[in-house]
């Protein structure tokens, strides 16, 4: 079993929105980022994986087990973090450790408190008094403290200052040092994914646009900036799509090195995940 998560043919219909035929995987030992606009369906996909919502069709396997049949077994080994703290305002961390310990078989309260110390989360305050960053770190500590094999995060780093974000990304990279561990995270802070993701799955209007390795995205793709004369001479196979402005064209190239060999005089810049996303959503073919 070399896939931590395997989604095939997931379909879910709401009144104004639906997921169509979603298929992708999280290879064991990797970090997979789900990107897409707000409302594209990232959260719906994660909720389906976690069986928080029903689905019309589709097969979802976690650690090789069906996500509904073996739900309880699977959930002992998953740590989940949502975009808001899920703990009640009046609880303190000691309360939390006590009752979480009765929910998870593998809850390690020493580990929990070690993480809290490392993250500098106060032990004697109640959740209401925590800053947003502290609340997220608390949830991450809770997610890690029962030794899960898979972390699932939904927009967990939005709204954090850059320092807190980097601290949390470092924690994820630490988690991944064990190659039995995997992470699936959705984020529209694509710069975070630029840093740590191994694979990127792009969701747009309820469908998977692509699933690629991040290196492929960042190193093979490129952005050509040129005038209309050069643009008109390009053949359609050479690029993915383009954006036109008053003074020229920006073109998304799928194979940068190949392109440079064919057009040595043209300059092709590096891309970021955000660039690619914007091109796909706002560009033209």
């Amino acid at each position: 079993m070399d896939e931590a998560v395997r989604v095939r043919g997931l379909n879910k219909t709401y009144k104004n929105f639906s997921l169509k035929d979603i298929s992708f995987s999280v290879p064991k030992g990797s970090i997979v980022g789900l990107i897409g606009e707000n409302g594209a369906g990232k959260t719906t996909i994660l909720k389906s994986i976690l069986n928080l919502i029903s689905r019309e069709s589709g097969e979802i396997q976690i650690f090789g087990h069906d996500n509904i049949k073996d739900e309880k077994y699977i959930k002992e080994q998953i740590g989940v973090v949502f975009d808001e703290s899920s703990f009640h305002d009046t609880l303190n961390v000691k309360n939390i450790s006590k009752f979480m310990g009765k929910i998870y078989k593998q809850w390690d309260s020493n580990l929990f408190f070690n993480y809290l110390d490392k993250f500098q989360v106060p032990k004697n305050k109640i959740v209401k008094e925590f800053s947003r960053g502290m609340k997220m770190k608390l949830c991450i500590a809770a997610a890690l403290a029962h030794n899960p094999k898979l972390l699932i995060l939904d927009e967990a780093t939005g709204g954090l200052d850059p320092v807190a974000r980097e601290e949390i990304l470092d924690i994820f990279l630490d988690f991944i040092q064990d190659e039995e561990h995997s992470i699936l995270l959705s984020s529209h802070v694509t710069s975070d994914l630029d840093k740590i993701a191994d694979y990127i799955t792009f969701i747009h209007e309820g469908q998977v646009v692509f699933s690629k390795s991040k290196d492929d995205l960042r190193e093979n793709m490129g952005i050509l900036k040129c005038g209309s004369s050069y643009f008109n001479n390009l053949s359609k196979e050479e690029f993915i799509n383009y954006r036109k402005n008053q003074f020229g064209y920006e073109v998304l190239i799928s194979d940068k090195y190949d392109f440079i060999k064919k057009h040595p005089k043209l300059v092709v810049d590096n891309t970021s995940i955000e660039d690619v996303m914007l091109f796909y959503i706002r560009g033209d073919k």
Binding site: L169, L173, D174, Q177, K195, S213, K214, D215, N270
Partner: protein
């Protein structure tokens, strides 16, 4: 061991890594049997994807510079001087070819080029 990568270089990151490790091995800074950092640890420290470091290590192994033992890690391979010398010779030839192309394109004579080479190699 220092490994410095740049996002704005025109070389892919995995190539930058393998080039730097290669140079360190050739120069003797990394002796035979030296244990390289794990791919995952390197990925974490450089804040890049583990797929990138894996590719760099795979390339290094393919070219004979390192050996990967499953479960133990990657180690600097016994130096096969012949292979290395051949590799470096190829590289030098590549660069010299570039110099020759530039000279011919701008009308620089062979003798001028030879003088420059002598200067660079033997010093002033």
């Amino acid at each position: 061991m220092d490994i410095i990568i740049s996002n704005s270089s025109d070389k892919p990151i995995y190539e930058q890594i393998s080039a730097q490790i290669k140079n360190a091995i050739i120069s003797g800074a990394l002796p035979e049997g030296y244990a390289l950092p794990s791919m995952r640890f390197l990925a974490k420290e450089l804040r890049i994807s583990v797929i990138t470091t894996k590719r760099a290590y795979t390339d290094l192994e393919k070219d004979g510079f390192i050996e990967t033992v499953k479960g133990k890690g990657s180690f600097v391979a016994g130096k096969n001087m012949e292979i290395i010398k051949e590799e470096q010779l190829r590289l030098a030839e590549e660069y010299l070819q570039k110099a020759v192309d530039i000279a011919k394109a701008s009308g620089i004579r062979y003798e001028e080029l030879e003088d420059i080479l002598k200067l660079l190699y033997k010093g002033e």
